[in-house]
């Protein structure tokens, strides 16, 4: 007994010793960033101890089955559609030369710029009674064939078509960077094009595809506007129902926790599936991909395939929006929109920069730290994306208000005067909230590019006495730049269209285009929402086009 006790003490001592030996400032920085980002999530998790509200049994009995089956259906159908749209387009664009390739490269990102609930409204507008399709068919003297899009499949389609760019962006970054030498090797061994793709490229692109797919699935689970409009009850509509209609925030938090569990198990399942695989490549390949030029007929075929998702995800909804904008132009348009665009643009730009830096810091500081559990802890940073924005807002408000209250009391005591909140209700809190919410959007594409950077070169550099920072800027940064740019674009576009956080946390004088669009749409003035929505799309198009140039050029 005695012996066993002393060996326990010994092992604890040993562990402590190792902890002390292995801890460095990167461990502390990782912990700080994780804490900052996870604080709102933890605040919400802490609320779980209060137990669910009294309607919990009512929800389990009458509603939960519906929520689970609908959410599950959306996850499966959206995964499939997004995979097909995202990976095929990424591959064709990266591998082949065909007409309008350069334009399509960035057009494929733009569906992301339209808030999915607006896409939902636009599709309803096309297929509705008296909708665009009916008008067009009537014009050609045809019988009106009504397609009902307002159902589960319609919702899955609308969400997939507006979210597939996540997969497209991250997968293409991989193809552009890595595929060339693999292709050459495969071709030299006499393997055909299609077989190479399925046997070699696709398995290797897996981390990149999954990175995008996880973002899509989180966003799908998170959607409120489109699901609500189409009358499909999901976890998130349930969260809003129990929070606002049943007046039980505790129950809403319980449902969010279930949702979080679902997301977490998806991530873990994927990690477990590829547990033993290592994805770093020995070579650093900066040579741009060699594009195949095929015959005219094939080129036309490829063009048709690539333009299909752009047509459904961008041109059709935008055409509908333009039609509405023309109808409502005189009553809605105001020069104020230009000002609003500038304001929204700057907020999105700042947030994207902050978020990308935070994500990179998190990834690398956890890499440079040597304590295993801190490495795992750094994964917690991405959870903010899985929770509905409105719930994140509460997680932000509780701690920031606590700090503010403390500061206000302190200042009142010292100076005898009181004044307003310092953090809450300022731009600072808003950007912080965005960073919490969108860290995953930046984290995943950057992480998937770092996975391919072999440790050998940075390690060699450090053996030669070059510090972490210098090594990062000299060696790693050029290699992961594509990932960082992709991350920047995604966060930027996401912030442009973000709604619930902005609504709750924005300062008095600040307004965004998304809020403006929502003001109209929530009042059933969907047509009037077209002009601010188009402004969102144009504002998003500027950096998308520009950054895409940086991304593809060497």
């Amino acid at each position: 007994m005695k012996q066993a006790g002393s060996s326990d003490i010994f092992s604890i001592k040993n562990k402590l010793f190792r902890l002390k030996r292995d801890s460095n400032r990167w461990s502390i920085i990782t912990l700080c960033v994780v804490f900052l980002i996870a604080l709102p999530v933890l605040t919400i998790a802490f609320k779980l101890f209060n137990g669910p509200g009294e309607s919990w049994t009512h929800i389990v009995k009458n509603l939960l089955g519906d929520y689970v089956s609908n959410s599950f259906y959306l996850l499966v159908v959206c995964s499939f559609l997004v995979f097909v749209f995202g990976v095929t387009t990424a591959w064709l664009v990266a591998r082949y030369e065909f007409p309008f390739r350069k334009q399509l490269e960035w057009l494929l990102i733009l569906p992301l710029a339209i808030p999915s609930y607006i896409v939902a409204y636009a599709y309803a507008g096309v297929f509705d009674y008296g909708g665009s399709l009916e008008v067009i068919q009537r014009f050609f003297g045809m019988e009106f064939t009504r397609v009902d899009v307002m159902n589960r499949f319609g919702l899955a389609f609308v969400l997939s078509i507006s979210l597939f760019p996540y997969v497209y962006v991250s997968t293409r970054a991989f193809f552009l960077n890595q595929a060339n030498n693999l292709l050459e090797a495969s071709r030299m061994l006499g393997v055909g094009e299609i077989r190479t793709f399925f046997k070699l490229i696709l398995p290797l692109a897996r981390p990149a595809i999954v990175a995008g797919l996880i973002l899509v699935l989180m966003e799908v689970l998170n959607d409120y506007g489109a699901a609500q409009y189409f009358g499909v009850n999901t976890f998130t509509t349930g969260i809003f129902r129990s929070w606002f209609s049943l007046e039980e925030p505790e129950t809403a938090i319980y449902l969010s926790a279930l949702l979080l569990l679902l997301v977490f198990s998806i991530i873990l399942f994927e990690k477990w599936q590829r547990r033993k695989m290592q994805y770093s490549s020995g070579k650093t390949n900066n040579q741009s991909i060699y594009r195949k030029i095929t015959n005219k007929r094939k080129q036309f075929l490829i063009f048709c395939i690539v333009i299909t998702p752009v047509l459904f995800g961008f041109f059709i909804p935008v055409a509908q929006l333009i039609y509405w904008a023309v109808l409502t132009y005189s009553s809605v348009f105001h020069y104020e929109f230009l000002l609003l665009s500038v304001q929204t643009f700057s907020i999105a730009f700042i947030t994207a920069a902050v978020t990308v830096i935070l994500a990179t810091l998190l990834i690398f500081s956890s890499r440079w730290n040597r304590i295993g559990f801190i490495k795992n802890l750094s994964k917690l940073g991405v959870l903010g994306y899985a929770i509905p924005g409105a719930v994140v807002a509460i997680g932000i408000m509780i701690p920031t208000l606590a700090i503010d209250r403390w500061l206000m009391d302190l200042i009142e005591k010292i100076s005898g005067q009181s004044f307003g909140f310092i953090i809450h209700g300022t731009l600072f809190a808003l950007v912080y909230a965005y960073a919490v919410r969108f860290l995953a959007v930046a984290y995943n594409p950057i992480e998937s590019t770092t996975l391919k950077v072999s440790n050998a070169i940075p390690d060699a550099s450090k053996t030669l006495g070059v510090g972490n920072f210098k090594t990062f800027f000299k060696i790693e940064y050029p290699l992961i730049k594509t990932g960082m740019l992709s991350a920047f674009i995604l966060v930027f576009v996401d912030v442009l269209k973000e709604l619930p956080l902005t609504l709750i946390l924005k300062p008095f004088q600040v307004n965004t285009l998304a809020v403006k669009a929502f003001e109209y749409a929530s009042d059933e003035r969907v047509m009037e929402a077209a002009i601010p929505s188009l402004f969102i799309i144009f504002t998003a198009a500027i950096p998308v086009v520009f950054l895409n140039k940086l991304l593809v050029s060497k």
Binding site: S55, H58, I59, N62, L63, A124, D128, Y129, G130, E134, R146, M150, N151, Q228, Y229, F230, G231, N233, T237, F240, R241, W243, S245, L246, E247, P249, L327, T328, S331, A393, I394, M397, I398, L401, D404, R405, L407, L410, I411, I414, S415, Q417, F419, G420, F421, I422, H424, P500, L503, I504, K506, F508, Q509, V515, E519, S522, D523, E524, R525, M527
Partner: protein
């Protein structure tokens, strides 16, 4: 290590000094422009912005606005507590005003002006909130298929003759919740539950879309009747889209329950926040919003019924005729809201 702590401490001291000076600057500034008012509002119409501007011009009080859904604003006010900058809360239904009141976010206001203009059933029993405008929940029917003589009450819609004919949106919509809450208040929970269940059985399709979509579906023949808000039909009638105007022309408006309780109405209303830093301005502001001048703007530009009886309704609403409204005190809608939601779920009303 101690060196680090010292640096941190010094930084903290410096930071707090900086804050103090900033604080003094701020308070001096705020004295100069203390004439302001912070409004948390769910209403985001041009008419409202126009009215805020007029109020600023007439009184010199600057109106700061935060627009969000009422639920989120209530949540925000709750968390901000006694430090909340909010002076006035405006929502588009009585239920949420009642919720704000029971959460202790509003305060009673005694104002001769408000008492004299607003009918007593359109304000809180403890004068925590006051209605600004009204919307009626009516039946829109297909003129070519249905005779208005066949229509009578909300209750009659549960009759088997309307099987597969009724269109109505999801039960997550507050106006449906308020309607059921009014039935609970008027007839009791048991009857209300039966009503919800039988209405679900008569639905032409599973609930989806908004009020405008229900009316469009009636026009297209998917059903014969839609239960909708007058406010949205007003917008449909005056839509910029010719297709939508055509839809509006093909339907008629029926005010139910004229012989019994009266047609169910909901309101948009305002209350003064409990911790309002500018309470006097807030009261002045609400008084202004129910004045004839402001009510005219509401009535003419927004297809709502004014609460000020001296003000005429808009041309669109006039065509539908006058009606008797349910005089149930609107506080009861809030009190029964949660019960209504649970009944909806049990009845399988999506």
């Amino acid at each position: 290590m101690t060196k680090h702590i010292l640096i941190v401490l010094m930084a903290l001291v410096l930071f707090s000094c900086k804050n103090e000076t900033k604080n003094e600057d701020n308070s001096q500034e705020s004295k100069e422009i203390s004439q302001e008012i912070n409004v948390y509002t769910h209403r985001h119409y041009e008419a409202d912005q126009e009215l805020f501007k007029r109020f600023e011009e007439q009184t010199g009080i600057k109106v700061n606005v935060i627009n969000a859904s009422a639920d989120e604003l209530i949540q925000k006010m709750t968390l901000e507590g006694d430090k909340s900058p909010a002076d006035v809360l405006i929502t588009v239904d009585a239920g949420r005003l009642h919720r704000a009141k029971t959460s202790g976010l509003l305060q009673p206001i005694s104002s001769m002006i408000l008492d004299s203009i607003i009918p007593s059933h359109l304000m809180d029993t403890d004068k925590n909130w006051f209605a600004l405008t009204k919307r009626a929940r009516v039946i829109a029917y297909a003129k070519d298929r249905i005779k208005p003589e066949d229509l009578s009450t909300y209750q009659d819609l549960t009759d088997v003759k309307w099987n597969n004919k009724i269109l109505i949106r999801s039960s997550s919509n507050i106006y449906n919740q308020s309607l059921l809450a009014s039935i609970i208040a008027n007839e009791g929970e048991e009857k209300a539950k039966q009503w919800a269940e039988s209405l679900v059985a008569n639905m032409a399709r599973s609930p989806k879309g908004n009020d405008r979509d229900q009316v469009k579906a009636v026009a297209a023949g998917e059903g014969d009747l839609a239960i909708v808000n007058t406010y949205y039909i007003g917008m449909l009638t005056n839509s910029e889209n010719p297709e939508e105007r055509k839809v509006a022309e093909s339907i008629g408006i029926f005010f139910p329950n004229q012989e019994t309780t009266g047609t169910h109405v909901n309101v948009s209303g305002a209350g003064v926040a409990k911790y309002a830093p500018n309470k006097d301005n807030a009261v002045k502001f609400i008084e202004f919003l129910v004045s004839e001048e402001a009510q005219e703007v509401f009535a003419l530009s927004n297809f709502e019924y004014p609460v000020n009886s001296n003000v005429k309704v808009s041309e669109t609403l006039k065509k539908w005729g006058s009606f008797t409204e349910d005089k149930l005190n609107l506080s009861l809608l809030g009190e029964n809201n949660k019960k209504a939601v649970i009944l909806f779920d049990e009845a399988g009303w999506k």
